[in-house]
């Protein structure tokens, strides 16, 4: 390499790689101390906007978490049901093996398996238990359709959450309050809700510990109201205390729910 080549190699090129910074000239206060003050103000404005964006994102995420909870629980419930049916299948197999003490060939075993699956389906449908269960459910539903009357705030936990919501007639509004024992606003809301429940007997009020219903939920956003109708998620209000005046009573809670058109 000649000397020129070496020099060229190390020559500093004008910064063509870096993108040109936007040159924005303000109307007033570009240079001097006033320029520094204006730059500082711009910088603070940018920081403030970023903080607001961050907060918005957090609220969105928390809302999503609340919404998906029921769906997740439903999946768990169905899985449980399936487990129950698998267990029963295994039990029946055991019974048969005990009855037929003679060892059977594998082929026959397989055939039996196929038959078994068909039989199993039929059995599932014929099963007294299931039909009975269904009949009971249906009865309850009809009962509730005629006279859905409540009067208290029911406590729910992870297990009965889905069933309590599903087994309701489609006309009934269900309001779930997710709370934390140490949150003052939550405690206050719970007492307001019990008073409201006595007044508004047509609405089903539920309350559940946030730790139980949705572990890992950001406690910053409690108390939370989740509204269901006809077994479907309608909406959630995060940080209910922010929407209410400082010392609120059940009338304030009622007006909030009326405003949001849930009652």
């Amino acid at each position: 390499m000649s000397n020129e080549d070496i020099l060229n190699k190390f020559a500093i090129e004008p910064s063509s790689d870096e993108p040109e910074e936007e040159f924005v000239m303000r109307e007033y206060g570009n240079t001097g101390p006033k320029g520094v003050i204006a730059d500082h103000a711009e910088y603070l404005e940018v920081l403030r906007r970023e903080r607001i964006e961050e907060k918005k994102r957090q609220v969105q995420q928390s809302k999503k978490m609340v919404m998906n909870e029921k769906e997740v629980n439903l999946v768990d419930y169905l899985l449980q049901q399936r487990k129950v049916s698998i267990n029963e299948k295994q039990q029946e197999k055991k019974k048969r093996l005990i009855e037929n003490s003679d060892p059977e060939t594998e082929e026959e075993d397989e055939k039996k398996k196929e038959e078994d699956s068909e039989e199993e389906l039929l059995k599932m449908l014929d099963k007294e238990g299931i039909l009975d269960e269904y009949a009971l459910q249906r009865l309850n539903q009809i009962k509730k359709e005629i006279e859905p009357v409540f009067g208290t705030v029911l406590t729910v936990n992870k297990e009965n959450f889905v069933s309590t919501i599903d087994n309701e007639s489609p006309k009934v509004t269900i309001i779930v309050h997710m709370y934390d024992q140490n949150n003052r606003a939550c405690i206050r809301i719970n007492s307001c809700l019990s008073k409201l429940a006595r007044r508004l007997t047509k609405v089903k009020f539920l309350k559940g510990l946030a730790k139980d219903l949705k572990p890992g939920f950001n406690t910053e956003f409690l108390p939370v109201f989740i509204v269901y109708k006809a077994g479907k998620f309608v909406d959630s209000i995060l940080k209910v205390s922010e929407h209410l005046p400082k010392s609120f009573d059940e009338d304030d809670v009622r007006s909030l729910l009326v405003e949001s058109k849930y009652l």
């Binding site: 910074e21 040159f23 000239m25 007033y28 206060g29 570009n30 240079t31 001097g32 101390p33 006033k34 320029g35 520094v36 003050i37 730059d39 500082h40």
Partner: protein
């Protein structure tokens, strides 16, 4: 009549009265500088060119100051760094990391041992260049007493420094003890700039947002004279090389020359095309030229005697935010929005 109407009529009256006063004043004077200077041959347009580019800052340059040897320059920028350059060798000597990014001005002490800078943190921080510890220069003194931003600072000598601040006062400090000696509080607006009188260590001039510039006596701490004439905030003050006059640049788009002995404004430097304020002024060593840095990042060169524009410093993507003329008058340094320092000669 409604209050607004009354206010507007009174404003009109004030305007008229002001005009009458100015007319009377000018009638009293024998002649104006402009007419007296009219028979002086006009200046040949100076061919100022960029001789040196100093790159290294990572943010806009907010302030520059020459050292007494006319070779070293100190500059402060938005990236929170104060860099000491050697102009002839075109290299950096020191780079000092500041605690606060928002620095407004920097200064060199006459002995070149100390560098000061002040900004939005309300402090004037002094660094000792001769004490370098493991390649880092630590804070020598932190002068805190101002309740507003420090807009300008100038060293008297290695023991004393004067600062001007947004809390409407100027303070003379004793560096060794870090305490203030005198406070000069007479302005009615943020003091934006100050300059020490050349050849006289007892006087300095300051310009403030109340449209007045004041001359102060350092020993007694009192205001010797107040100069009015500007219509808006004064952003920069610089003494004429002989010390008997000073130039000011203001937000009203004019620069004015005030004479101390005459006690009044001598000349106004403006033209109709200029709409933005001036943020820095500097005189050439002869005093014939005045460099004014404008808010739209341009620099105009004014003929001080005749009052007209002789040149506008042009350079591709030249966005000047601050400027300074060296002690020997050989060069002008401009600090720019695009992070470069340019030396013109």
């Amino acid at each position: 009549m409604s209050i607004e109407d009354r206010i507007s009529t009174v404003k009109e009256e004030i305007k008229q009265l002001k005009n009458e006063i100015n007319l009377k004043k000018s009638n009293l004077s024998e002649s104006s500088l402009r007419t007296l200077a009219s028979d002086i041959p006009p200046l040949e347009t100076s061919e100022l060119e960029v001789r040196v580019h100093l790159t290294g800052h990572l943010g806009k340059v907010y302030g520059v100051h020459w050292a007494e040897d006319s070779n070293h320059i100190v500059s402060a920028s938005q990236d929170g760094k104060v860099i000491v350059w050697d102009a002839q060798a075109q290299c950096k000597i020191h780079a000092i990391r500041l605690r606060s990014n928002w620095v407004m001005d920097c200064a060199f002490s006459p002995s070149m041992n100390l560098v000061a800078c002040g900004g939005l943190d309300n402090l004037c921080t002094i660094y000792d260049l001769s004490q370098e510890e493991e390649g880092r220069i630590n804070i020598y003194r932190e002068l805190s007493s101002h309740t507003g931003y420090v807009s300008c600072c100038r060293f008297l000598n290695d023991q004393q420094i004067v600062t001007s601040s947004g809390d409407m006062s100027c303070i003379l400090w004793d560096i060794e003890s870090g305490s203030k000696i005198t406070e000069f509080a007479d302005h009615n607006g943020d003091v934006m700039s100050l300059d020490l009188k050349p050849g006289d260590t007892n006087t300095f001039a300051s310009g403030a947002c109340d449209a007045t510039s004041k001359l102060w006596d350092l020993r007694s701490g009192t205001c010797e004279a107040t100069f009015e004439g500007h219509q808006s905030d004064i952003n920069s003050v610089q003494f004429f090389p002989d010390g008997n006059a000073f130039g000011t640049g203001s937000d009203d788009a004019t620069c004015r020359l005030f004479d101390i002995r005459a006690g009044r404004e001598l000349m106004e430097y403006t033209n109709d095309n200029i709409l933005c304020g001036i943020s820095s002024v500097a005189f050439s060593i002869s005093g014939r030229l005045m460099f004014a840095g404008y808010d739209n990042f341009s620099v105009h060169v004014w003929d001080v005697l005749k009052g007209n524009d002789t040149a506008i410093l042009e350079e591709h993507s030249n966005r000047v935010s601050c400027l300074g003329v060296s002690k020997d008058g050989m060069a002008l340094v401009t600090g720019s929005w695009d992070k470069e320092l340019k030396i013109w000669a």
